[in-house]
Every structure is written in structure tokens, then in C-alpha cells.
């Protein structure tokens, strides 16, 4: 059979139906892009307003134009020259880092135990931990406050950090991820002579690195931006975290929005760094590489 024998010219009908399919596909793509664009605008607008306001003089703050009429970096100079800002930044950084390390460690430890060890009451413990997710933070602050007071933790790092040092959400997340780690890995390590803690630390933890990275980002951001609890538990300006400290800019009559926005703009930098550092660990499919091909 020659090449010509098997070449078939498309019929006119086929061409038309192909064209209508293409236009339907283009329309679908247009709608998708439009929705994404709209969502993107919604997400980016507060950030744009924050940056815009941080570059305005006080008289222009309530003018909602995106580009300041007289842009200034005076607010940045003021905030960065104000010693309190560094203090609050440092407080926030210490608290967010320590809480993140603690939450990732304990959430992964408890999640692993609940997932891989069969002990009586395991299910009840898991349900009890999960049920705490249904209680809103606003209801918890009073018992937290009373606890802090009775332990002498008011107005201290420990007092700010302790509610977030282990989280129900993180435990649940890690338990679910450890479910994806085949028991063969752990049994192989057991035969190779590792104890249970070493198996968790040296074998299981590296296999759930993407989940650890995701959890670290969630916990860090949650603690970096936390407002209500640090506001309640701290009394002195020295112990303020950045969000609490920023809210105190201004006086009793007027809120200095341009300074608050400037502080907020600077405070987003660590969150960007955290995201950039951890996102490279979020690579799918790492676990499966050691299994059957």
C-alpha cells in the first residue's frame, strides 16, 4: 500500500465540527482565565493597598487611589528608626520559630504514634484530639489565660507560645501523611537495628518531608500573624509581638494607618522567606521512589 492510499482528507463536516470544538475550548479557557484573574485580583488588592498606603502621607491615607500623589518613604524611615519595631519583630520571630519547631516535632511524633502503633484507646485519643478543632479560639482564650496566670506565664514568651506548641490540625495532618508510609520501610529499619525513635526520626520523617514543610509554613504563618492571644496575654510593650505592636501605632484619637501598613509591609518579608525555604521540600512522589517500580 502506498502512502497516498492511506492519506484521508478531512470532510467539510469534520472541519466544521473541529472548528466548533476549538471555539468551545477557547471559550472554556477564557472563562477559566477570567476566574483566575478575578481571584488573583482579590488576593493581591489588599497587598497593593498595604504597599500603597505605606508610601502615603497621613493626609492622603483615606484617599483610596492606588498610586500616591506624593509618594514618600518617610514612613519606612520612621518605623525602622523606631526601636520598638525591632523589639516586636524579634519577639515575633523567636515565638514563631520556636512554636513552629515544637508543633512540627510534637505533631509528627503524635501523628506517627497514632498511625503506626496499635494500642488500646488509640481511636479515642485521636477523636479527642480532633474534637478540639471544633472549639473556636475565642472560647479557648479564657482557659488559656487562667492557665497562664496560675503558672505565672502572663506577659512572657512561654505564655504566648504554649497554646500553639502542639496542634490538633497538625497531628491530624501528620497522621494522614504517615498512613502513606508503607510499614515495610519501618520493619526493614527495625530489622536493621534501629530503635523506635530512630525509625521515626531517620526513616519515617524524611519520607513525609513535604507534609512537614507544609505544616511548618502553616504554623509559622499562623503564629507570625497571631493577634488575639498575644494581645490578651501580654501587658508590657516589651513583650508585644509585631501585630500587637503595630496596632498600637497612633494615639487614642487617630490611628496611624500609614505606619501600620508600613510595619505590615516589612513584616511580610519573613513569611516570604519561610515560604521560599520550605516550598522546595514540597515535592510529590518522594515516598514512592523506594517502592516497586
Amino acid at each position: 500500500m502506498s502512502v497516498q492510499d492511506i492519506s484521508v482528507k478531512p470532510s467539510t463536516d469534520a472541519l466544521f465540527s473541529g472548528s466548533s470544538r476549538t471555539s468551545r475550548r477557547n471559550m472554556g479557557q477564557f472563562i477559566r482565565w477570567a476566574l483566575l484573574f478575578g481571584g488573583g485580583i482579590l488576593m493581591i488588592m489588599p497587598i497593593v493597598f498595604m504597599l500603597s498606603t505605606s508610601l502615603k502621607f497621613p493626609f492622603e491615607v483615606y484617599n483610596l487611589n492606588l498610586i500616591p500623589e506624593e509618594p514618600t518613604i518617610e514612613n519606612y524611615t520612621y518605623v525602622l528608626e523606631d526601636g520598638r519595631f525591632y523589639h516586636w519583630f524579634w519577639n515575633s520571630l523567636i515565638i514563631a520559630i520556636l512554636t513552629t519547631v515544637s508543633a512540627v516535632f510534637f505533631d509528627a511524633l503524635v501523628g506517627y504514634a497514632l498511625c503506626k502503633f496499635k494500642f488500646p484507646g488509640r481511636y479515642i485519643v485521636f477523636i479527642a484530639i480532633l474534637s478540639t478543632l471544633m472549639i473556636p479560639t475565642e472560647m479557648l482564650v479564657i482557659p488559656w489565660y487562667l492557665m497562664s496566670k496560675s503558672f505565672g506565664w502572663l506577659d512572657s514568651y512561654w505564655g504566648i507560645m504554649f497554646p500553639g506548641m502542639m496542634t490538633a490540625f497538625g497531628t491530624f495532618l501528620m497522621k494522614q501523611f504517615f498512613e502513606t508510609v508503607p510499614d515495610d520501610f519501618l520493619e526493614a529499619a527495625r530489622i536493621d537495628g534501629l530503635n523506635e525513635f530512630q525509625i521515626w526520626w531517620q526513616v519515617a520523617m524524611p519520607l513525609v518531608r513535604p507534609a512537614l514543610a507544609a505544616l511548618a509554613i502553616f504554623v509559622f504563618l499562623g503564629n507570625w500573624t497571631a493577634f488575639i492571644w498575644p494581645l490578651i496575654v501580654t501587658n508590657s510593650a516589651d513583650m508585644y509581638t509585631l501585630p500587637v505592636g503595630l496596632s498600637s501605632f497612633g494615639d487614642e484619637v487617630d490611628v496611624a494607618w500609614e505606619l501600620i501598613m508600613t510595619g505590615a509591609a516589612i513584616s511580610t518579608l519573613p513569611t516570604l522567606v519561610v515560604f521560599l525555604v520550605f516550598q522546595r521540600f514540597i515535592i510529590r512522589g518522594v515516598v514512592m521512589a523506594g517502592l516497586k517500580g
Binding site: 536493621d192 534501629l194 521512589a289
Partner: protein, 352 residues
């Protein structure tokens, strides 16, 4: 290297007993294959030897030591898993060397040992690669290397070839057999594939429903199966079974035909089952002791498998690969009396 001794091993999950007191002695340097259908208890037995499952009853000795209450790491065993279980976040070198972490060898000694094992497995060039850069067969070799590096008393293999394609499986089968001949360690290998069992084992342990059905060399279990289950499980295609009655000098089949056989231990008039391996039941142009119509023909090249309907039973026989019979043709079948097997119809046990 060491012997392995299992005495009255019992395993229960709650009230359900899955292993019913099995006993077995494995000699030093022997290659023993546990084979059986899914759920027969072969993997459970292996995991109990490894210490990954608690022992409900009985004893396991590795060498002279009773290991019932020892941790897996203290049993001087190494195990290769079905899923390989090599760590994806470590290089091949680190994976192979993982079993030496607790060893008291100096670092240079460990590296030397890893290099030796890699050389034996032909993986010296792949030591710095990650598992995701390896093929299925190479990953399996890493898993074997991790077991080898510790030079254990007993190697345990849990269906290690199940995830490989047919060609690679044949290749790895050969490699493991060569490896055993080279290092000479005691090996316990679990598989559900009777071809793997036949080709690799010094002795085969055939299991069903938590009981050992027969232990023997591959030729013993093939030529002298202990019961109908073993006879049908070992050998492909499966052994043909024809029910009948023992007459003292042969088996009278349902249609009244008597197949003469040498004297057996069966009582006259007892219900028996006549077993004929497809390899021994041959299509002939001469007079045969059975005849029937060809239903299906399966050419294999050198031979042809022929499915023949005989008195309501479908028997599988062998015919020439060059001139196979045609579907619908009536053919005669013959076999040597010495290659026929007789089983008690009730108990299924072989009647010698």
C-alpha cells in the same frame, strides 16, 4: 550461617488461628522455599521468624538460640521485602550501608564491605544514585545488598520477585540462585509462584490453610506429591484428576473402563482419584487407554497442550508441536502406569 528450627509454631489473631502448629528444620546453608496460595500462612511464618509478628505458640531456634522473645535486630537475620523497602531519601551506598549503622566496624571497614557487596551485585557504578534513578531490578538488587551487607545467619525473602516483569523475574531468579551458591547462607524464601519454588529451592515447603502439606525436594514434590492439593499446586498445567474405584489391579473409571495400575495400599472397592500430569498424558496415533474429543488446542512451540473431553471431564494432554490435533478431532490418550498417581478420594492423601 546457621540452622533454623521451627517447633509447633502457632499464630492466632484473637480467636482465629491461622497457623496450626507447624514444624520444620532447615539445614545450614539450605535454600528453602515456602509456597502456597494467598492466605496459607507462608508470609506469617516468615514474619514470625523475622520477629515482626508475635509468636502465639511453639518455638523458633536460629542456630542454637531460642529467638521467640528476641527483637528482630538481635536474631541475626536480614529480610528482603516484596516492595523492596529501600529508603528513597538515601543513595544506593547509604541504603546498602544502612544495616551496618549499628555495627562496630570502623568507617573504612564499612565502606569496604559496601563496595564488596556492590561488586557482587554488579552495582559498583550505581552507588551514588538515588532509588528513583534505578530500574525495578536494580532496586531489588539494592534491597538484596542491604540484606547481604550484614552477613546474617539467615536470609528471609518475602515474595521479592512478585513486582518484577516476567523477563526480569527469570533473570533475578537466576541471580539469587547464583548468589546462594556463592555465599552459601541459609535462605528462607516465600513465594506463591510454584515455578520460582521449583527452580530455586533445595527443598520446598508447600502450605495450605496454616498447615504444611509436604516438604521435599522439587523433584520429590513433583513426582511424589503427598496429596491432591500438592499434586495440583505443583506443576503447570495442573494435574488431571479422574475419580474412580480401586479394583485391586487398577482404577475403574465412571464409564466402566479400567486403567491397570501396579498394586497400591488402597482397599478393594475404595473410592480413589487417578492423577495424570499433562506432561505424562500423551496424544497418540496408536491405541490409548482413554479417548475423547479435542476442545481446545494451545500451541507452545515445541509441544502443544490439548484439552480433551473424556467422560464429562476435561483433561489436558501433550501432543507434538509440529502436527497437533485439530479441534473437534477424536484422539486417543496414553500414559505409563509408573507415571500415574493415585489418591484416596475422601482424605486426598496419596496411595503409594
Amino acid at each position: 550461617m546457621a540452622t533454623l528450627s521451627i517447633r509447633n509454631l502457632v499464630k492466632s489473631y484473637g480467636k482465629v488461628e491461622v497457623l496450626h502448629g507447624i514444624s520444620l528444620d532447615v539445614a545450614d546453608g539450605e535454600f528453602v522455599v515456602f509456597v502456597g496460595p494467598s492466605g496459607c500462612g507462608k508470609s506469617t511464618t516468615l514474619r514470625m521468624i523475622a520477629g515482626l509478628e508475635d509468636i502465639t505458640g511453639g518455638e523458633i531456634h536460629i542456630g542454637e538460640r531460642l529467638v521467640n522473645n528476641l527483637e528482630p535486630k538481635d536474631r541475626d537475620i536480614a529480610m528482603v521485602f516484596q516492595n523492596y523497602a529501600i529508603y528513597p531519601h538515601m543513595s544506593v551506598r547509604k541504603n546498602i550501608g544502612f544495616g551496618l549503622r549499628t555495627s562496630k566496624l570502623p568507617k573504612a571497614g564499612k565502606d569496604k564491605r559496601i563496595d564488596e557487596v556492590a561488586a557482587i551485585l554488579g552495582m559498583s557504578d550505581l552507588l551514588e544514585r538515588r532509588p528513583n534513578q534505578l530500574s525495578g531490578g536494580q532496586r531489588q538488587r539494592v534491597a538484596i545488598g542491604r540484606a547481604m551487607v550484614r552477613d546474617p545467619a539467615v536470609f528471609l525473602f518475602d515474595e521479592p520477585l512478585s513486582n518484577l516483569d516476567a523477563q526480569l523475574r527469570t533473570q533475578m531468579r537466576l541471580e539469587i540462585k547464583k548468589l546462594h551458591q556463592r555465599v552459601g547462607n541459609t535462605i528462607v524464601f516465600v513465594t506463591h509462584d510454584q515455578v520460582e519454588a521449583m527452580t530455586m529451592a533445595d527443598r520446598i515447603v508447600i502450605m495450605k490453610d496454616g498447615h504444611i502439606q509436604q516438604v521435599g525436594t522439587p523433584l520429590e514434590v513433583y513426582h511424589k506429591p503427598a496429596n491432591i492439593f500438592v499434586a495440583q499446586f505443583i506443576g503447570a498445567p495442573s494435574m488431571n484428576m479422574l475419580p474412580g474405584t480401586w479394583t485391586g489391579g487398577g482404577v475403574r473409571l465412571a464409564d466402566g473402563l479400567t486403567v491397570p495400575l501396579p498394586a497400591r495400599t488402597a482397599a478393594e472397592g475404595a473410592n480413589v482419584v487417578l492423577g495424570l500430569r499433562p506432561d505424562d498424558l500423551v496424544v497418540t496415533n496408536k491405541k490409548g487407554f482413554l479417548s475423547g474429543q479435542v476442545a481446545v488446542v494451545e500451541p507452545l512451540g515445541a509441544d502443544t497442550l490439548v484439552y480433551v473431553g473424556v467422560n464429562g471431564h476435561e483433561l489436558i494432554a501433550k501432543a507434538s508441536g509440529r502436527e497437533p490435533p485439530k479441534v473437534g478431532q477424536t484422539v486417543a490418550l496414553t500414559a505409563n502406569a509408573g507415571e500415574m498417581h493415585l489418591f484416596d478420594a475422601k482424605s486426598g492423601e496419596a496411595l503409594p
